[in-house]
Amino acid sequence: MSTTRLHDWLAESSEQARLFEQETLILDVTEAIWAEMEHQGISKADLAARLGKSRAFVTQVLNGSRNMTLRTLSDIAFALGVRADFSLGHPVQGADGWTDSGETRFGPRLMTRVCDLNAANTDWTDLEAQRS
């Protein structure tokens, strides 16, 4: 069994690839929330207070040990003054079914984007794109 090459490990079983996709989605969502918290200078304790939940709840949701419901995600976005957006997409694949780097598993998967609720126009503003 290959431990140390990601693409080999993913190719070993569809169950491993499925679990990896779950963990990747959790990271997509939670790291986007962390990026927004960093941007606004908000701590976990601040977010917990805004949500009316315990700090432990926020810790568990953000580290993936507690399943985040879509309602909780919406509440977190609302508490941060942003909106969570998502789309289903297919990452670019190489001829062998992998991306160019050979490290990313095939899709479809969800992608999240944090959008500014206070944008002046009716279109949502992609904050990640603005910051990059």
Partner: protein
């Protein structure tokens, strides 16, 4: 001394030393059967590290002092390593040791082990 390339991301490469590889296989033998997702969790977090150069959530990555960092999972599986450059240059996170941690605090033997590996690689 060769290191395996675990993942190549936009920010850095995650490399695995032979000691890291061996201890990784051993550590995963101690992952409880109902925590199989933990193995995928460690890999997803390492891949994200290669893409972003860091993990924003401080609960997922700790500094253990003296330049050693731990990428953590929710079941106790941890990858210990250091930031440096790969054999052909470029930024890298080098995994020197992987352990299934039983208590909250890092085991000093695990930290000693990864420091020894780092010395061998000139880090």
């Amino acid at each position: 001394m060769n290191m395996d390339v675990f993942a190549r991301g936009a920010a850095l490469r995650v490399l695995v030393t032979p000691e890291g590889s061996e201890s990784w296989t051993e550590a995963e033998r101690h992952v409880p059967p109902n925590k199989e997702a933990c193995k995928a969790q460690l890999r997803a977090r390492l891949q994200r590290l290669s893409e972003q150069g860091r993990l924003r959530n401080p609960d997922l990555m700790n500094s253990e002092g003296e330049g050693i960092h731990a990428v953590k999972t929710n079941c106790g599986l941890r990858a210990y390593g250091w930031f440096g450059s790969g054999p052909n240059g470029g930024k890298a996170f080098c995994i020197g040791h992987v352990a299934m941690k039983k208590q909250q605090k890092a085991d000093s033997r695990d930290l000693k082990r990864v420091k020894r590996v780092r010395e061998r690689f000139g880090g």
